[in-house]
């Protein structure tokens, strides 16, 4: 197992470096000159000023040298400087990361818990109105575009009913401390986290239901019945455990998006996280920030892929013991 993890880690490092190069090349292949944008905003677009800007940020160097410098920095977690925000990119990302992690992790937990529970319930009540209700809701959530759900949820619960705050991370100017602060953030979290988790809740539900029904038909479930085991034990110990294997794969996919996937939700709910940072950076051509966010989200995807593989090994002995 340890050898397996080591091998995967080495592979992950190489993939990460490849992603770094690819992103850098792609961004620089895109039309547009960051120096021109900066100069334009400063209102002084003469050639001398542009030249100064290029020299200051190393943009006058040959492409390969720029790439090499960037790579050298990235390895030491120095992701360059944001021309727009006048701050190191790494610092910007670290500032925003906690809010994003809080939002996406909450959405992740909500979708897994509700999705799997609803899937189990639907499978066990297959063919009844419970099953129909759950499956129809899942289909609805699955088919509805995320931004629309976000806007409607915000409209209904915040504007019309006034139950929950509709934007932001905490109440501005309230300066809560201790438990009050936790509750305040929690209240702000409910709408974006539920919205973000809805899609995956639907997928988990459908996957769990299908997988449970498939496993129920397998021979070893019949063996378990023949032993005289109670149905609840059979469902939990024999059916659910086997049925959760594909759900783990899915969870790995969702977890990989924890950093990069919240762009829409964060923008709609004005959540001060990485997703919004990326949205702003793209509209402002803040290349280094875009590259930094891409880099961090790629690293996250690789990390969660690795975790999924390890989890798979723990749950399924066939993988663990033949590795």
């Amino acid at each position: 197992m340890l050898g397996f993890i080591a091998a995967r880690l080495v592979k992950a490092v190489f993939i990460l470096l490849a992603i770094l190069v690819l992103n850098f090349v792609l961004i620089h292949a895109a039309p547009g000159d960051p120096a021109a944008v900066m100069a334009g905003e400063a209102g002084a677009a003469d050639e001398k000023f542009l030249q100064d800007l290029r020299e200051r940020f190393g943009l006058d160097q040959p492409f390969t040298v720029q790439l090499w410098n960037y790579m050298k920095g990235a390895i030491q977690l120095d992701l360059g400087f944001s021309y727009r925000q006048q701050m190191p990119v790494a610092e910007l990302i670290w500032d925003r990361l906690p809010a994003t992690l809080l939002l996406t992790a909450t959405a992740f937990v909500i979708s897994i818990v509700i999705g799997v529970a609803a899937g189990v319930l639907a499978a066990q009540t297959q063919g009844t109105w419970w099953d129909t209700l759950i499956s129809s809701l899942a289909l609805l959530f699955y088919a509805t575009p995320l931004f629309w759900v976000a806007l409607m949820a915000s409209l209904l619960f915040s504007v019309v009913l006034g139950w929950l705050p509709g934007f932001g991370y905490q109440t501005i100017g309230a300066n809560y401390t201790g438990i009050d602060r936790v509750l305040d953030i929690g209240k702000h979290l409910i709408l974006p986290a539920t919205t973000l988790g809805l899609f995956f809740t639907a997928i988990y539900m459908r996957m769990t239901r299908a997988s449970m029904l498939e496993v129920s038909r397998l021979d070893f479930v019949k063996t378990a019945r023949a032993k005289g085991l109670r149905n609840s034990v059979i469902q939990r110990r024999h059916v659910l455990r086997n049925a959760l294997l594909p759900v783990i794969t899915l969870a790995g996919l969702q977890a990989g998006q924890i950093v990069g996937g919240a762009v829409l939700t964060e923008t709609v709910f004005a959540w001060p996280g990485i997703g919004r940072l990326m949205f702003e950076a793209i509209s402002q051509r803040d290349y280094n920030v875009i590259l930094g966010v891409f880099f961090i989200s790629a690293a996250m995807v690789l990390l969660f892929n690795l975790i999924t593989d390890i989890l798979y090994g723990i749950v399924d002995p066939r993988i663990r013991l033949t590795k």
Partner: protein, 543 residues
């Protein structure tokens, strides 16, 4: 009074099934310590009857009439809870597929201990101790390690022993065995049958044994019930039914068992059509980790033989002996590691690209599973003409040819427009044979081509193959684990063990006077030998 009495049991199928009743008016009794065999082909209702006894009928299938009396109680009237406490304790069951009968994520020890847990017996430590004792009792090697093993780490025979250990845990009064040896090799089958017999003697339980193999019946049954289309067509003492069957269906089933009779060996022509020299194939699996040694399996080692025009060579051996790998190397579904495979004087073991494509039509394969070897989304017409069209035949000629082929294998040409799922297993295998013949190959390789079929269907397909071989002067390589089948169709036989050819010669010599212990053990393991001797004695008496 009998231990178990089934009276006029009928089991209804859900609406829309091909018939109304899966089981119709079935009655039989089972006494303490007795072995009762229920024999019949797929769809005869034999498994349904057993499942009804366990209260484990599939969803939508329900008993519609009759009663099942066990210890003065009618099982059909018991509540779910009452049935639950009966299952595993008084009546237990073992199944056909040992590979899928165990939960892949649980250690086998835990799965055995679960039986005690289900009935609230013993403490966890005692359960484990009993599980260990049971593993000893069913003859598993090294029980202390096995108890911690996961199912995938055990062989098919070992898993079936684990399933038997679970079934015996609470010393049930009745053991239902639903085709428990069908998926196993002959030698493993013989061991499992011995084990069941031994346990029956020691524990005095009654055994309800479901099988389609009359050889097995002859070896273990006290009494026999023959079922067809859900009805009992014949019942009686095993000896009587086997030697003096009264119902035509029973006779047909008995006649369909291939005997160990040999085919007249033909005189080989001068030049072989297929010549194999020192063929070897090794599988290396890199299984994670930098420092682990890769697992190396020598699947085929230095195989050499010649196949002549019109000849059939059988390759026999247990699972894992390398017989299928050898076949796959010959058709180049696998690339042999070393050695020479010559067809018509040309070595095809190393060719690639278009040369290989040209070669492919000369050697064709018939596969084991007629269900998965035909594309379910293609019509039979497409399946049969695809190859011809790929080799440049125009569509109209190809379709004419396909219709001829269907007639040749005994199917109606109208089958062209239908999909595989509209056919029975035997019919699909006929399509598979027609497909293999479409390109007029010089050699046909049949890999366990009749193993998945019922005996009577098996006999028909074997007849078809023999007929085609004689009519078209086909050269065949016939891969099988069933020595009786091999004896019936093969001129010469290769016996393989762990990748090596341990014996090779005319069928009558290899199977009649085997030279190696391995071949002898394979022959000894064939069920029903005593019955064959009895039959021979009966014939002599009549003459």
């Amino acid at each position: 009074m009998s231990l178990l009495a089934i009276d006029n049991l009928s089991i209804a199928l859900p609406k829309g099934a091909d018939r109304e009743l899966a089981v119709k008016d079935v009655s039989f009794t089972l006494d303490k310590g007795e072995v009762l065999c229920i024999v019949g082909e797929s769809g005869s209702g034999k498994s349904m009857s057993a499942n009804a006894l366990m209260g484990l009928l599939p969803e939508g299938v329900t008993p519609s009439a009759g009663s099942i009396h066990f210890e003065n109680r009618d099982l059909l009237t018991l509540s779910d809870d009452e049935m639950m406490s009966l299952r595993g304790k008084d009546i237990s069951m073992i199944f056909q597929e040992p590979l899928s009968a165990l939960n892949p994520l649980m250690r086998v020890g835990d799965q055995i201990a679960e039986v005690f847990e289900a009935h609230d017996l013993l403490t966890p430590t005692e359960r484990r101790k009993r599980a260990l004792e049971l593993l000893h009792e069913v003859g598993l090697p090294d029980p202390d390690t096995t108890i911690r093993a996961y199912p995938f780490q055990l062989s098919g025979g070992q898993r079936q022993r684990v399933v038997i250990a679970m079934a015996l845990a609470l010393e049930p009064k009745i053991l239902i065995a639903d085709e428990p040896t069908t998926a196993l090799d002959v030698t493993t089958q013989a061991q499992i049958l011995d084990l069941i017999e031994d346990l029956r003697m020691r524990h005095g339980m009654a055994v309800l044994f479901i099988t389609h193999d009359f050889g097995v019946v002859a070896d273990i049954a006290d009494r026999v019930i023959v079922m067809q289309h859900g009805e009992v067509v014949e019942a009686g003492e095993a000896e009587t039914v086997l030697l003096n069957p009264t119902h035509a269906y029973t006779r047909a089933l008995l006649d369909a068992i291939p005997g160990l009779s040999f085919r007249e060996t033909m005189q080989p022509a001068n030049t072989p059509i297929l010549s194999v020299r020192d063929l070897s194939m090794t599988f290396t699996s890199r299984t994670g980790g930098f420092f682990r040694k890769p697992r190396v399996v020598k699947a085929v080692q230095d195989a050499s033989f010649d196949l002549y025009k019109g000849e059939t060579i059988g390759i026999v051996g247990e699972s894992g002996s390398g017989k299928s790998t050898l076949g796959r190397c010959l058709v180049r579904l696998l690339n042999p590691e070393k050695g020479v495979v010559e067809i018509g004087g040309k070595d095809i073991s190393k060719i690639n690209g278009s040369a290989l494509r040209q070669h492919r039509r000369r050697i064709q394969m018939v596969f084991q599973d007629p269900y998965s070897s035909l594309n379910p989304r293609s019509r039979i017409g497409t399946i049969l003409t695809e190859g011809l069209i790929a080799y440049g035949t125009d569509k109209i000629t190809a379709r004419e040819k396909a219709q001829e082929l269907l007639t040749l294998v005994g199917l109606d040409p109208s089958a062209m427009k239908r999909f595989p799922h509209e056919f029975s297993g035997g019919q699909r295998q006929r399509v598979g044979i027609a497909r293999a013949l479409a390109l007029e190959p010089e050699v046909v390789i049949a890999d366990e081509a009749v193993s998945a079929l019922d005996v009577s269907i098996q006999a028909q397909v074997l007849d078809l193959l023999a007929d085609l071989r004689d009519r078209l002067n086909l050269s065949m390589i016939f891969i099988t684990h069933d020595l009786r089948v091999a004896a019936q169709v093969c001129d010469r036989i290769i016996v393989m063990q762990q990748g090596k050819m341990v014996e090779f010669g005319p069928s009558s010599q290899v199977l009649g006077s085997p030279q190696t212990e391995y071949t002898k053990s394979l022959l000894d393991a064939i069920p029903g030998k005593a019955h064959e001797q009895a039959l021979a004695a009966q014939r002599e008496l009549r003459q």
